[in-house]
């Protein structure tokens, strides 16, 4: 993986295996550690039995905590982490912008507004398993991205870094203000949402994890297959067009996938900032800028990052919980400053 000679090639089976093993190791660590200290032997036995589907009649505390509470939560943490950082990596490539991410562009804020509106006004799509919040979060995320980008293109066709980030920040502020407005007018019903808005993976379930997994499989798969086009984009849109990339189609494809992934993540875990921004920067020194390597590495890196962040949120103040957004923001901003500082020095 660190061998620069292979940098032009894609992500080989060996590298996939290595990353998967690392993610699995962190996953196991998160299975064993938690708010409640369970005996390691009990935990591993319970984990083995749950995996093999042979849960005994008489269960220990480990089963009762692991199966319904801890496992779905860490599944959701790893899947949202993977999804969010894949989105970040793709947007950074598509927009040639190292600061692009769901939270800096205002997409997460838009998705939050969608989710809050659906709770406040009781909007739901009948017959759908994850009706209401998830659907409206996805739609709101897509509308947000469309608004931000069309505005950015109109102002500055070259899509310079500053323009997009400025528009994203302004849009974030506007949308957050609108969320607060909805919360103010919707009365008691939405008051509890202020807790949720900070981002929390508490109470996530297996169906949540399944929804994330399906979206990640479909949208993540599409995004991974777009790596070559993203490589062309990261040199420049003109360049991409000249080598025969259908710029509009690729852009639309990426935007739809990103909105779906961010929307689903926000509706399940609230807005968890910095994951999408920071992980691609963390893995880039290892993989180089080639998206064929960057995207899969971000996928695994994001899962590991959010697993560890959630582990901190669960355990540091036990029995209390920290909102996961607090953890990712603190860790993320420190790492970010570090990356930029060392990056500038090298130049």
């Amino acid at each position: 993986m660190k061998n620069k000679n292979t940098a032009t090639h894609g992500f080989g089976p060996k590298e996939y295996l290595l990353c998967a093993a690392a993610t699995l190791a962190v996953f196991l660590l998160c299975v064993c550690l938690g708010s409640v200290n369970l005996p390691l032997a009990d935990t591993l036995a319970a984990f083995r039995d749950i995996l093999t589907g042979t849960v005994p009649e008489e269960t220990t505390l480990a089963y009762r905590i692991l199966q319904p509470v801890r496992l779905p939560r860490i599944l959701c943490a790893s899947l949202s982490g993977a999804a969010l950082s894949l989105c970040g990596a793709c947007m950074q490539g598509l927009l040639k912008n190292p600061l692009a991410d769901g939270s800096t562009l205002g997409v997460s804020a838009g998705a939050s507004l969608g989710a809050i509106c659906s709770i406040a006004f009781g909007f739901s799509v009948p017959g759908l398993l994850f009706s209401g919040t998830m659907v409206s979060a996805v739609i709101a995320a897509f509308i947000s991205l469309a608004i931000i980008l069309s505005f950015a293109y109109r102002l500055d066709a070259s899509l310079s870094t500053n323009t997009i980030i400025l528009i994203g920040i302004v849009y974030s502020m506007l949308v957050s203000a609108m969320s607060n407005l909805v919360i103010t007018f919707a009365g008691d019903r939405v008051k509890t949402i202020t807790f949720w808005n900070m981002g929390s993976l508490q109470g996530t379930s297996y169906p949540n994890a399944a929804a994330l997994a399906i979206c990640l499989l479909v949208c993540g798969g599409i995004l991974l297959l777009t790596a070559e086009e993203l490589n062309a984009f990261s040199i420049g849109e003109e360049n991409a067009r000249s080598i025969g990339v259908n710029v509009r189609a690729v852009r639309l494809r990426v935007l739809i996938c990103v909105s779906i992934l961010i929307g689903v993540c926000v509706s399940i875990g609230g807005s968890i900032s910095f994951v999408g921004l920071i992980t691609p920067h963390l893995v880039r020194p290892l993989t180089g800028p080639n998206h064929k390597r960057l995207l899969p590495a971000s996928l695994f890196g994001g899962a590991i990052f959010l697993l560890l962040a959630d582990l901190c949120a669960r355990t540091i103040l036990a029995p209390r919980e920290l909102p996961i957004g607090v953890v990712t923001s603190i860790v993320g901003s420190i790492l970010f400053v570090h990356i930029f500082y060392t990056g500038r020095k090298q130049r």
């Binding site: 708010s35 009762r64 905590i65 508490q202 909102p323």
Partner: protein, 324 residues
């Protein structure tokens, strides 16, 4: 541009003049009121508010603005609800309180709104008001009274203080006595045996579990009933882990989640949570939902809440007692 500036200046000066006139009008109006009540009888009242400031009124207050929901409840319980000329926006009990004009409260407290209502007295908590804001109010001729109960003893103090303030001392004594009597009754069984542990749920799982730990009214009432708060090691209100609730396996669950008439009720939602099946409270369906802030406000209804909790624990025994 110049024109706009001039217009702005004109508007500003107009607004300032209007403000000055309003400022002058307030004291003279209240002076008239004082004169009127002095002629009837001399009923000056003096008391100490809950920050220890001594307050003297020439007569029991006739126009009151109360910012906190608990003080509104106390005033209505005293039979002084008709003296409310303004209420904080979150005051919601009893229903009559909605007929009173609402003002912003807490961090958004708006001095102008309060002055406009021309109260004799403003009752508020020690939340977000600066010394300067209190001075502004006192300069406008409004006495500021702080009511800030931190425990049940504090609620008695608040009731007695508001009773003195409104000239309803007898009513205040009745309410306090009745609360004490209820608390005595419900704590009678506490000494016999430990009633078990209770988990208070302030925010449901969907939004992250929040509980009420040590130093809350819920904790105090639990102890009164001989119950052990499952999260007594947590200070105040806090977000806690679902794993911890399962491990601590409380005997009773009390949730203050609101129900909006759709989907499962808060009790049903807790009963259906995965992994909670083995918690004694869930197994024995010992879950109580108090939706109307009975247990989170320093007001007379704390006694009602204690009674409901008592009924949850002792069930039919309490019904028999009532029948007898």
């Amino acid at each position: 541009m110049k024109k706009a500036t001039r217009l702005l200046a004109l508007l500003l000066s107009l607004a300032m003049t209007a403000g000055l006139m309003a400022g002058c009008a307030t004291p003279s109006a209240s002076k008239d009121g004082e004169k009127a009540s002095n002629e009837v009888e001399n009923t000056a009242v003096t008391f100490t508010d809950m920050t220890g400031r001594e307050i003297t009124l020439d007569a029991p207050a006739d126009r009151i603005v109360a910012l906190t929901a608990s003080d509104c409840e106390i005033l209505y319980a005293l039979g002084a609800g008709d003296k409310l000329v303004g209420r904080g926006e979150y005051c919601d009990y009893p229903a009559e309180v909605f007929e009173v004009p609402s003002v912003q409260s807490g961090y958004e407290t708006n001095i102008e709104q309060i002055i406009e209502l021309k109260p004799d007295v403003l009752v508020m908590a020690t939340m977000a008001q600066t010394v300067e804001q209190v001075e502004q109010l006192e300069n406008a001729g409004i006495k500021v009274v702080v009511s800030d109960a931190q425990n049940i003893e504090g609620v008695y103090t608040a009731i007695n203080m508001l009773g003195t303030l409104t000239g309803k001392t007898a009513e205040a004594t009745t309410i306090v006595d009745s609360m004490k009597k209820t608390f005595d009754e419900v704590s009678a069984k506490a000494d016999e045996e430990s009633a078990g542990s209770i988990y208070f749920e302030v925010s449901p799982l969907q939004y992250g579990l929040w509980t009420a730990g040590k130093g809350t009214f819920m904790d105090e009432i639990a102890n009164m009933l001989g119950l052990k708060n499952a999260f007594a090691d947590v200070e105040g209100w806090a977000e806690i882990s679902e794993e911890q609730v399962i491990e601590r396996a409380p005997d009773y669950i009390l949730t203050i989640t609101m129900y909006f008439g759709e989907g499962p009720t808060p009790e049903e939602e807790i009963l259906s949570r995965k992994g909670w099946e083995n918690i004694p409270a869930v197994k024995n369906q010992k879950i109580l939902n108090l939706q109307n802030n009975e247990l989170s406000r320093p007001a007379p209804r704390l006694a009602d809440a204690a009674r409901m909790l008592y009924d949850l624990i002792h069930g039919t025994a309490a019904e028999e007692d009532k029948a007898a």
